[in-house]
């Protein structure tokens, strides 16, 4: 494995970048593995990486039906944050945040993580109260949080509509300074390269068609490239969890919904932080290429289509225009949709299942990208030790029937929460 550095860059520049080695192999599946991870997105690749790096399990395959990072890893708006209120979520996402901060060094791969801050806008006195409560909870859990008043926000985000007469006037906000954005493709590629270096087989264009289960114990998987035996199988296929769990005979507290995102044409630097508004149902940041990247709510009907409908695009762009009147002249360049694993309490599942040796990583709702490193870190621990790490001990599959839901939004059992 060639180490990436300024020297290797200079050396390869001399040969016009035609001699770079491949970052990972494309092996044929072996007949048997210690662990098979289904799903070659960020979460699956991270899981394989940490199984090999931290738990000494190198005989691992990641099986992907398409190409790695081609699902939601390549479809999100790249926001990274850990501004959660509930303690179980706070510790899990803060661990993930710390992994983000060291990721480029750990992987020797530039994931372009940028701590540009995430600012949640408050538009009512009650929103200010709830943001201050969440901010205080975060600080008690050792997470950075700063309450921003109106003047501080006006100075920090000069293009924001600060008119006191607008439909949702900006009254304050909660800032997490360490939060930010990262380059999503690089996350998948960096973990794939690191996992491959440690002996993990990454097998693309290989779709799982069934599980081999005997006496309640997993024996392997059936795929479009034949049967593969495994002692343990982990599923990290958010978006299609229901389909995969159907094959194992398990019903899940999950619905698939489509979430859209879009980018404008690129412009010069104008917005150096991530701004979100729950009241206006939108969030926005500017990419390193200059595009305004933004999104809003789900289309709010079950969908596996990876594309949404125009009323949602119209609503989101109208919200953005209200927040940033100056952006009304920008032309929309692209829009796309991703299939969200919407859990019934808005929190994820990293858990054992009723089938011995089958593990589930699912239910990421709107927010799987920021969890990528922490998700794989905890899932690897859960698979290697057959028990969860304290960070994901609350993310069980059976918390719903037991009455221990993690309802961050306080919205009850609906598959719509963030």
């Amino acid at each position: 494995m060639a180490k990436y550095s300024i020297f290797s860059l200079a050396r390869n520049a001399a040969s016009y970048h035609t001699n770079w080695p491949k970052a990972w192999r494309s092996p044929d599946p072996k007949p048997e593995y210690d662990v098979i991870i289904i799903g070659g997105g960020g979460h699956g690749l991270t899981t394989a990486f940490y199984l090999a790096k931290l738990h000494g399990i190198n005989n691992v395959a990641v099986i992907e039906k398409g190409w790695i990072g081609g699902g939601n890893t390549g479809r999100n708006t790249t926001i990274v944050r850990s501004n959660y209120y509930l303690e179980a979520n706070a510790h899990f996402y803060e661990n993930s945040m710390k992994l983000w901060e060291g990721m480029s060094q750990e992987l020797n791969f530039n994931v372009m993580f940028s701590s540009r801050g995430v600012l949640n806008l408050a538009h009512t006195p009650s929103a200010i109260d709830s943001f201050q409560r969440r901010g205080n909870a975060m600080r008690l859990n050792g997470i950075d949080a700063e309450y921003m008043n109106r003047d501080q926000i006006a100075k920090m985000v000069p293009l924001l509509n600060m008119s006191p007469d607008s439909r949702f006037p900006v009254m304050g906000g909660l800032l997490q300074p360490r939060a930010g954005t990262a380059r999503h493709d690089a996350v998948a590629w960096g973990y794939a390269r690191g996992a491959d270096e440690r002996g993990v087989d990454i097998i693309q264009n290989c779709e799982v068609t069934g599980f081999d289960i005997e006496n309640g114990k997993i024996k392997g998987v059936q795929t479009t490239r034949g049967a593969i035996k495994a002692k343990k199988v982990g599923c990290a296929v958010a978006g299609h969890t229901s389909q995969l769990m159907d094959m194992a005979g398990l019903r899940t507290p999950i619905e698939a919904h489509v979430l859209q995102a879009m980018v404008s044409e690129p412009v010069k630097p104008a917005l150096d932080t991530v701004v979100t508004s729950g009241a206006a149902h939108c969030y926005i940041s500017q990419s390193d290429k200059g595009e305004m990247v933004f999104g809003g709510d789900l289309d709010f009907y079950n969908s596996y289509a990876q594309r949404g409908n125009f009323p949602t695009i119209e609503f989101v762009t109208a919200s953005i225009k209200w927040l940033f009147p100056a952006f009304s002249r920008l032309r929309l360049m692209r829009s796309w949709g991703g299939v969200m694993d919407m859990s019934m309490d808005g929190s994820p599942i990293i858990s054992k299942t009723p089938i011995e040796g089958l593990y589930l990583n699912a239910g990421w709702c709107y927010g799987g990208f920021k969890a990528t490193p922490g998700s794989g870190w905890c899932f690897a621990h859960t698979i290697a030790n057959d028990e969860p790490h304290p960070y994901n001990a609350a993310f069980t599959l059976n918390r719903f029937e037991k009455g221990y839901t993690l309802d961050e939004k306080g919205a009850g059992p609906v598959p719509k929460a963030h």
């Binding site: 299609h240 229901s242 389909q243 019903r251 899940t252 507290p253 999950i254 619905e255 698939a256 709010f300 009907y301 079950n302 969908s303 596996y304 289509a305 409908n309 125009f310 009323p311 019934m344 719903f400 029937e401 059992p413 598959p415």
Partner: protein
Amino acid sequence: MLLIPCPWCGDRPHNEFSYTGDATIKRPVDANAPAEDWNAYVFLRDDPKGPHDELWHHVNGCRRFLKVRRDTYTHEILGSAKPHEDITSNEGGAA
């Protein structure tokens, strides 16, 4: 835009409606039903990739509920009915 055939109003754009979810789940009749039944009713969903029977509320129209059979992969609308009626699938329905 989805064109939803409201049994009372005819084909209407979907942003007149509010989505209410899976139409096949049944609330346990007996309040003392086993916890698994309540868990299935409150939390578990079939979440099919393909035809899905679902409830919509014509909230900015006639304000009545209706059942719609819609393909969750293609978004094709296959039929609709009043909530207490069975949907007769219309394969050539409006998409």
